[in-house]
């Protein structure tokens, strides 16, 4: 048998120990051209394929490569949701090879823009000869910061009021959504009777599932807001009134909070829900009754949402130019129609709704038309939710507390203080 020497074993033990330590390797030196590396003819597109759109994205990429034979687009599975894409991009910023085009959501883009990790697109778009006036204004301007635009709208959605037409009829209501939340309150008794016991007139997503997004509509409806510019206004009488209204709905058993209201709604367990337009396809497929859609209650107070595509700041100018070329192609009138018809998102171009295939599509799908008709009545979201780091989660948590019956004024005052502190600590000095 081969006798190992003592020295040999020392070496072996050393290697084993070292291997154990690879788990905490040190950082490499980032920055030294780390972002500049990568072939300039290959465009890396980091996407989470919003709305199961991988095949559609691939289809658009094939069309792009046909038009630009010298460029290749590589589609990368960058995560299962917007937050994971942001996480992966964050890791790449530490010194990895960076992508050329990346999907950023309404809540993830700003932090990157603030830290100068995304390129302002205005000049690049101008030199590429893109008419930005054709983008739907509300959607394009969502990405404004410091006089620049940091993303192009891509998979954009708004909430929609979905209702069960059978139950509506049973409750003896007109076939339409409520004018405002007060009217909904009047309807709620009839709806409760129609939907039956153990079921609910309205279901809303809970605080960890974007209740903070939907509640903006209620807050605006009662004259409040989350913030004015950078000043949090949760203690505004209007916002507090909206909070009390939500609490009353919960106390009187009208509303139930739930991680997946769309599932209960499709199963007939809720008479109506507020949900993203992105759920329209799924709900229509699952529901066994006639689904109606309407504008959110109130006038001109529907928040926008969803994601856009952005370009990292530290890649070479040549790569940036190619990236913008692809981002523009991805969101041009023709492709936004292809993409939105496959997923249920909103066309981001004004001229898109005039294309013949979109006209006929909307005629056949009146529910999809509701979302587009609502688009001129949307309002950009409040900074306290989308631009302050952790804003969505913070407000969602507070709304959960409100729903559980805690004092609205106290919870919102605490939210004011917390938001102000986050602004002072993390944003103020960088503006």
């Amino acid at each position: 048998m081969n006798q190992l020497t003592r020295r040999g074993f020392l070496g072996l033990a050393g290697t084993a120990g070292a291997a154990g330590l690879t788990a905490c390797a040190g950082t490499g030196s980032p920055g030294t051209g780390g972002g500049g590396s990568g072939s300039s003819n290959t465009i890396e597109f980091w996407s989470n394929h919003p709305g199961n759109s991988k095949t559609v994205e691939q289809q658009i990429i094939t069309a792009f490569q046909k038009e630009n034979p010298d460029l290749t687009v590589k589609l990368v599975d960058a995560g299962k949701n917007y937050e994971e894409v942001a996480q992966k991009f964050n890791a790449a910023l530490a010194g990895g090879q960076q992508p050329d085009v990346i999907v950023v959501s309404d809540v993830t883009w700003f932090n990157f823009a603030l830290n100068k990790q995304l390129t302002p697109l205005d000049e690049l778009l101008a030199s590429a000869g893109v008419d930005t006036g054709d983008y739907v204004d509300a959607l394009y301007n969502d990405y404004t910061f410091d006089d620049g635009h940091f993303a192009l709208p891509y998979s954009r959605s708004t909430p929609l009021f979905y209702y069960n037409k059978d139950l509506w009829q049973k409750a003896g209501l007109e076939d339409r959504g409520p004018k405002d939340w007060d009217e909904f309150k009047e309807w709620s008794e009839a709806l409760k009777g129609a939907v039956g016991s153990d079921r609910f007139a309205l279901e809303l997503a809970d605080g960890s599932n974007y209740l903070d997004w939907y509640f903006q509509n209620m807050a605006w409806g009662y004259g409040g807001a989350y913030s004015q510019e950078w000043t949090p206004t949760f203690s505004d009488p209007g916002t507090v009134k909206a909070g009390r209204f939500l609490q009353d709905l919960a106390k009187s058993g009208v509303v139930k909070f739930n991680a997946t209201p769309e599932a209960d709604f499709s199963a007939g367990l809720a008479a109506c829900i507020l949900q993203s337009t992105g759920s329209l396809g799924g709900i229509s497929k699952d529901a066994t009754f006639e689904v109606g859609t309407a504008f959110l209650p109130g006038t001109d107070n529907c928040p926008t949402g969803g994601a856009g595509v952005a370009v990292p700041a530290s890649i070479s100018d040549e790569r940036k130019a190619n990236a913008v070329k692809f981002a523009e192609f991805l969101t041009n009138a023709q492709n936004t129609v292809t993409f939105t018809q496959a997923t249920g998102y909103m066309p981001v171009r004004k001229s898109a709704v005039e294309l013949p295939e979109e006209v006929s599509y909307l005629e056949e799908n009146p529910n999809a038309k509701t979302a587009i008709d609502q688009l001129p009545h949307t309002r950009s979201q409040d900074n306290a939710r989308v631009l302050l780091p952790g804003g969505g989660a913070r407000i969602g948590k507070a709304l959960d507390q409100v729903a559980q019956g805690q004092d609205v004024a106290a919870v919102f005052a605490a939210l004011d203080a917390e938001s102000q502190q986050v602004f002072d600590n993390q944003i103020k000095s960088k503006l």
Binding site: M1, N2, Q3, L4, R6, F9, L10, L12, A13, G14, A16, G17, A19, G20, L21, T22, A23, C24, A25, T27, G28, N48, H49, P50, G51, N52, K54, K74, L75, V76, D77, G79, K80, N81, Y82, E84, Q87, N90, A91, A92, G95, G96, Q97, S155, S157, E262, A263, D264, S266, A267, L269, S276, G278, S279, G281, G282, I283, D286, G306, T343
Partner: protein, 286 residues
């Protein structure tokens, strides 16, 4: 022997009430574990509109295998499966080999600085890998290893846990046997292979099993490193079935989960028998 007979007597004399309570407890625990698994399996066999209904459907009516073919057509399932097997296989092998060798060196061989090496390894165990992710990413990306198997495997191959577990096991072995083997002229490797390992079989199998299951389910690092189905393992691939903004069709997701679970389940059943064999072997010896 006498102890065992005594135990048997005690069981036969137990009051019926206690027996009933014991069985109720066991059934409850079984239900807690089995019902979610059962739910996954039947959901994978349901048609889409039957998944969310009230009252719940406890047996798919009608049953369909469409979800399973959906999984294999909508995503490159076999590619993800292959990647999972490669990553888990290589990682588990290297973790087990490194764990056993380093533990052996740290417990049964005498050399200067042994205590310090062990402390450093234990310190590595205290650092959660989420903390080192960013620096590891920078390092691996600069080596040009993104979206490669070595990029996923090598940074994960550290074995602080295995070293710790196996070292404690080796230290608990009776010193007489080890000394006897040394006197009989067994070299370090022979000692490890013929004496130490056979006596540590159950711990080694348990450690291997934990390693395999952990690597099979590893998500964060493979997700950051991989770009597409050339290297991404199953947990990353299966997320493509979920609709990340809208309504998820859970049938295919559950079917994918069942398929992903099977290999580990089979491995567990095989190794479990080995574990029991190891346990009884130890009992006879002492």
């Amino acid at each position: 022997m006498s102890a065992r007979a005594h135990g048997a007597e005690a069981i036969s004399h137990r009051s019926p009430l206690k027996t009933v309570a014991g069985y109720t407890g066991m059934v409850l625990v079984l239900l807690v574990i089995a019902v979610p698994l059962f739910w996954i399996v039947i959901t994978s066999l349901k048609e889409r509109q039957d998944i969310y209904v009230r009252p719940a459907q406890w047996f798919p009516q009608p049953a369909t295998t469409a979800n399973y073919s959906d999984v294999t057509t909508r995503i490159p399932f076999l590619d993800y499966m292959r990647n999972s097997i490669v990553i888990t296989g290589v990682l588990s092998m290297s973790k087990i080999v490194l764990g056993v060798l380093s533990a052996y060196a740290l417990s049964l061989l005498r050399f200067p600085g042994r205590g310090i090496v062990f402390l450093v390894v234990i310190a590595a165990l205290m650092v959660p890998n989420q903390i080192t992710v960013i620096s590891n990413y920078a390092l691996v990306a600069q080596l040009g290893w993104r979206n490669t198997f070595q990029g996923i495997i090598i940074p994960l191959a550290g074995v602080a846990f295995g070293t710790f577990l196996m070292r404690n096991q080796f230290l608990n072995l009776p010193t007489e046997i080890i000394e006897a083997a040394r006197l009989d002229g067994a070299g370090p490797l022979k000692l490890l292979w013929r004496v130490v390992l056979p006596m540590s079989w159950p711990t080694l199998v348990a450690f291997s099993l934990i390693t395999v299951v952990n690597e099979w389910n590893e998500y964060l690092w493979p997700f950051l490193m991989s770009d597409d189905e050339r290297t991404a393992p199953l947990p990353v691939g299966l997320t493509l079935l979920q609709n990340n903004d809208g309504v998820t069709n859970w049938g295919p997701v559950m079917a994918g989960t069942v398929l992903a679970m099977l290999p580990v389940l089979v491995l567990f059943l095989v190794l479990q028998r080995q574990m029991i064999k190891g346990l009884t072997a130890g009992a006879v010896k002492s």
